[in-house]
Structure formats: C-alpha cells, structure tokens
C-alpha cells in the first residue's frame, strides 16, 4: 500500500457518516451526560469528585491505549491486565525490595511490560494463531507466574514520593496522572499519524496481505504493536501504583478487560484493525468514567453499572458494524 493510499484512507476514516468527525457525536453525548449529572447530582461537580474522576480516567485512558495498540493490527490483547499487574509487582519489587531509585524501578517495570507484550506478538506472528487464543493463554501464564513469584504478598513500603505523586493535585483539581495520560495520547497520535512505523502498523492491520506485497514487514509490525501494547499496559500499572501508593497483586487482571475495549471501541477504533482513534479512545474512556461516577453519585449505580457498561459496549460494537457496512456500500476503501 502506498503512502498516498494510506493518507487518503486515514483521512476518510477520521470522519464518520456525513463528513462529521467520528468523535463529535461522542463529545455531544458526554456533554449531555455531564449536564444531566451536574443537574441531578450536586456532588458530581465537587472538587473531590472531579479529582477522583480525573484520576480514574487517566488509568482508563492508558488501558484503552494498550488495547488500541493491539486492535490497530486487527488483533487484540486479552493479557492487558495480566501484563499490568506483572509491571505493578515488578515496579514494587524494584522499589521496595531492591531499593532502586524510583525512575529506575519504573523503567524496569515498563521494560518488563514491553517484553511480555513483545513475547505475545512474537508468538502470534510466528505461529499464525489468532491473537485471541495467544493472549488468552498468556494472560493466565503471566498472572500465574506473578502469583507464584510474589506469593500474592502486596508491597506497601514503597518510597513516600510514589503515593504522594498519586495524591498530588495540580491547581487543586487535576491529577498529574491525567497529564501523563494526555501526554501519552499526544505521543501516540504523532506516532500513528506521522511515523513510518505507525503507518505500517495501520497498513498491516487494514490488509496484511496487501501490506506484505507493498513491502511492509507484517510480522515485525505485529510484534512491535504488541510490545507497544505491553508497554502501555505497564504504564497503566505504574499509574495504579502511584494511585494506591502500594504494589498489589489484586489489581489489573480481568478487571481491565472491559475498560480496555470500551475506550477504543466507543472512540471509533475498528475491531477489524487498520485504524486507530487516539482522541476517540480518550473520549470513550471519558464517557465510561462519567457514566460510572454519575450513576454512583446518583446512587443508582451499584448493581446497574455493569449492565450499563455491557449495553454501551454492545451498542458501540453494533455502531462499528454499521459503520463498516455503510463504508462498504458507499465504496469507501475497507480494511
């Protein structure tokens, strides 16, 4: 696939039906939810709640990015949570047991996340088995290994600055974790839009065979995408460590699976690969976090929450399917 073709395709995909940006509708829905929650639940806009929402959003955004990186290739990563918790415990071990400086420990944890993701990608590319099967297996493998090595003992004597960073408030309202998530988003946006490797990943995800014939090293970009996914999952893990001020084996895991798909899919990243929506993933995560917080503040969320999130994911998938059919009928190039 030529660069011109990819440019044209990605330009058309950035817009949804009728030339309106795909994320515009999502932004309107989010604004409507904020208006309703602010009206019906006075505590929703309290500084405490806004800070809490922002901090939870930061982690959800990066978890969404981790899944988005795998979706870009037309695959998926079911081991996002397992890689996250492995990074959490590794970071904690390096900081607490080996007493390494915090930046070194973070670097080590992120490195492990990237390595575990790379392993996923390597096996997928070499074996030709679907990402679903490989990452389902590796999710259990990584979690099991983590439990064996750590004996499920949490590490709660991390350096004070780790927990302090998670509690820090910029201008009394904004968590620095949210700033990190936005910065990661910016880097990903530039990567997918302006780098050769980013465009090769999208090309391989859109049509692996065509990409291969155009000279794209498909196996390599799949491996790199999964390494990126692992790196982002580890980043989310380290953000959780900062939030909790401790490294716990109970975080991540299956709990991250639903939010990892909700953000990118709601934001317009197709499950079939070939395109990513960085800003959309952030908006998707914002919608989910907004609904979760709003329903809780309205005191109707406890048992209904999972149901709402499931319905929203189902609707997003159906919309994604409709969008694909619409593009097919209108002759817009498909993946």
């Amino acid at each position: 696939m030529t660069d011109e073709a990819m440019s044209e395709m990605s330009a058309r995909r950035r817009f949804g039906l009728g030339g309106v940006p795909a994320q515009f509708g999502l932004a309107i829905i989010i604004a409507a939810f904020w208006a309703v929650f602010a009206w019906r639940a006075p505590g929703f806009l309290s500084p405490f709640n806004l800070f809490s929402v922002g901090r939870a959003l930061a982690v959800d955004i990066v978890i969404g990015f981790a899944q988005m990186a795998a979706l870009a290739t037309g695959g998926m990563n079911l081991s996002v949570g397992s890689i996250g918790v492995c990074a959490v415990m590794t970071g904690g071990y390096l900081m607490q047991t080996l007493a390494l400086p915090v930046p070194v420990a973070i670097f080590g944890a992120l490195g492990l996340g990237a390595a575990l993701g790379w392993l996923n990608g390597f096996v997928i590319a070499r074996s030709g088995v679907s990402a679903f099967i490989i990452t389902l297996a590796s999710a259990n493998l990584y979690s099991g290994a983590m439990l064996i090595l750590t004996k499920a003992v949490p590490l709660n004597s991390l350096p004070m600055e780790v927990g302090a960073f998670g509690k820090m408030k910029i201008a009394g309202l904004v968590s620095p974790l949210l700033v990190i998530a936005l910065a990661v988003g910016l880097v990903l946006f530039v990567f997918y839009r302006h780098s050769v490797l980013g465009r090769q990943i999208l090309a391989a995800g859109a049509n692996a065979r065509a990409a291969k014939m155009s000279g794209v090293p498909v196996d390599r970009v799949i491996t790199i995408s999964h390494a990126l996914s692992g790196l982002l999952a580890a980043t989310a893990g380290m953000m959780v460590v900062a939030h909790l001020g401790a490294a716990m084996p109970a975080v991540g895991g299956e709990d991250w699976l639903l939010p990892s798909f909700l953000g990118p899919v709601l934001g317009g990243t197709p499950l079939s690969g070939g395109a990513v929506a960085v800003a959309g993933t952030m908006l998707g995560a914002l919608l989910v976090t907004t609904i979760r917080s709003g329903l809780l503040v309205l005191q109707i969320g406890n048992y209904w929450l999972q149901l709402y999130l499931g319905v929203i994911l189902l609707l997003a998938v159906l919309v994604d399917r409709y969008r694909a059919l619409y593009q097919e009928r209108r002759g817009i190039p498909m993946r």
Partner: protein, 343 residues
C-alpha cells in the same frame, strides 16, 4: 393578644421542633461499606437502621459495592464523599490497597474505621473493629479437638489465600493442633474455598477421597462452613466432627440435628452498630481516639478491638443472639471512656 387556639398552635410547633431536634441529634451521614456482596454483612443493614434510630444520626446507610473489587469499593466511597457522607465503616476490599483512600478521607477531615477486617498498618483508619480471627480459629480448633475426644486427623477449610486473615487462621489452627502433643494431626489445609463453586468441588472431593481418615474438620470461612454442613448431612455422617463459623440457618439446623458440633459466632451486627455510633462521635468533632487505649495488637494493626466471639452449640442454640447483644451492649456502653477522649 394570643388566643387559646394560637397558643395551642405555637405549643404544637415548638413541640415539633423539639421532637425533630431530639429525633436527629446529629446531621452526620454515615456509611457502612462491605468489600462486596456477602451474607456475612447482612446484619450491618439492621445495625445501621438501629444505630440511626438509637443515636439520632441523620443517616446511617449500608452501601454494598457490586462486586469484590477494590476499585469498585473506592469508587463507591468517593461517590459517597461527593454526596456529603461524613464517616465510613469499611471492610477493606484490600488490606493494603484501601489505605490510599483512607488517607484521602482523613485529608478531607472524614474519619474511617476498618470494620470486620483490618487495614494493614500504617493506616489512617481510626482503628479496626472486628473478630479476632486468630482467637476465633484457635478456640474453634480447641472445641473441635474436644469434640473429637482429643485425638484424630483434622482438616482446615480456609478462605482466600490472598486474604491476610487466612494466614492468621491457618497459624491459629496449627498452634491449637500442635498443643495436642501429637495426638491430633493436621491432615490438610484446603484453601480458596470462599466461593460456592470452589467450596462445593473441593469439600465434596475431599470427603469422597479421605472420609475415613478424617476425624474432624474446621471451617474458618462462611461459605465452606455452609457447604461442609450440607455435605455432612448428605453423607449422614455424624462420626466426622465439624466446627463451622457464623450462624447461617443451614449450619444451625445441622447443629440441632447433630451433624455439626458447633460454630464460631461472630458479631457483625455489633460491628455495624458500634461503628455507626463511634463514627458519629468522631465526625461531629466531639471525640478523638485515645492513643493509649487498651488496643489489641495484631499482625495487621496496632489498634484492634475485638467485637466478640463465642461458640454456638446445642447448649446455647436458642440463646446465643441474646449473648451477642449483651456483648455489643457492653462494648458500646464502655467505648467512650475506654477508647475515646471527648469534649
């Protein structure tokens, strides 16, 4: 001049105002939050309602996270803070992970108590009120050994391995067994039986394979206690002695019919009732927690209060609830002077 009718109206209004003042002595909103849905916490609901009425608190609510996940619990707590709740009694979804939330609560001037399970020190929970799990498991094992005639093989049905309380219970059972000087042997510790499915599979497999070798079993979790009671009834085996935990009707019926020797009662009602009372005092700013109170030290915290435990057997099957209420009343009536400094 004020007419008789006007006087009556004024008196009625004054009476209403005074009544309202007496009915709601404090405007605090208190929440009791378990780690997730579990039958153990059901008495907290009644305790919340009773404490609201008895102590004139504006609101005492029992709020349950939809699942046993720390993030769901912390999100629920954060949403309740946004709604103006001023005190929290919390069963930590994770003994370590809950601490960052407790610090943030404290930072916002909101007191919290770890309830039924402790947060790991260092913690900003005012204290931990719960069953002394080590003591309960130790006494239960002693009771079991007595029921077995002082000899035989014991199996321990334990809860989640990742729960620090499980480690304490395992140690307690091992200690009680060791004190028999070899007359009693710990055959096996079957862990992670704290879900219905896992408990069903593990306990039934155990009984199918090793029934004849087992002289007694002790369960230190609610679900294995119920499952083992059912299994022993199904087997019709009264030879294997069994000590359970908590007072599920299935366990109590099995005690009545002789399939179970006894069960270790905890005091969840008392935990909820006392916590609401104390949180109201702390949130009002009228009382603070004494540093030099007679706290019990546990491996998790240096500020622990035992909410009471006793053995239920055929002798006190009908009266144990009164005994627990007496324990609750005793702790509550002495709490202010023993553990708090009040203006």
């Amino acid at each position: 001049m004020l007419s008789i009718r006007g006087l009556v109206r004024c008196s009625a209004l004054l009476g209403l105002v005074l009544f309202a003042g007496a009915a709601v002595a404090s405007d605090n909103k208190i929440a009791l939050i378990p780690g997730g849905p579990h039958p153990y916490f059901k008495p907290w609901e009644q305790a919340a309602a009773d404490a609201k009425k008895d102590f004139g608190i504006a609101a005492v609510d029992f709020k349950v996270p939809s699942d046993w996940k720390l993030n769901l619990q912390t999100e629920l707590i954060e949403s309740l803070v946004a709604q103006g709740y001023k005190g929290f009694g919390i069963f930590p979804g994770d003994a370590v992970g809950i601490n960052s939330t407790l610090s943030e609560l404290k930072g916002n001037g909101i007191p919290s108590i770890a309830l039924a399970g402790c947060a790991q020190d260092p913690t900003d929970a005012a204290f931990c009120l719960g069953t002394d799990v080590y003591r309960s498991a130790y006494l239960g094992t002693k009771e079991l050994i007595k029921a077995m005639g002082g000899k035989g093989n014991v199996v321990h049905l334990a809860g989640l391995l990742v729960d620090p309380n499980t480690t304490l219970r395992v140690k307690a059972v091992e200690t009680a067994v060791a004190e028999s000087n070899g007359a009693v042997k710990l055959l096996q510790t079957v862990a992670d039986t704290d879900s219905q499915e896992a408990a069903d599979q593990k306990i039934n497999a155990l009984l199918a394979a090793q029934k004849d070798e087992i002289g007694g079993m002790i369960a230190t979790g609610y679900i294995p206690s119920v499952v083992a009671s059912k299994s022993l009834r199904t087997l019709g085996d009264k030879r294997i002695k069994f000590i359970g935990i908590d007072d599920d009707p299935i366990v109590l019926d099995a005690i009545k019919d002789g399939f179970v020797s006894g069960t270790m009662a905890q005091n969840p009602y008392g935990q909820g009732y006392i916590a609401a009372y104390v949180l109201d005092l702390l949130a009002s700013g009228t009382c603070t927690v004494k540093a030099d109170a007679p706290w019990i030290k546990t491996p998790q915290t240096t500020r622990f209060i035992d909410s009471g435990t006793l053995v239920i057997n055929t002798a006190n099957l009908t009266s144990y609830k009164d005994d627990l209420k007496k324990v609750t009343g005793d702790i509550q009536s002495k709490f202010k002077t023993t553990y708090l400094t009040c203006k």
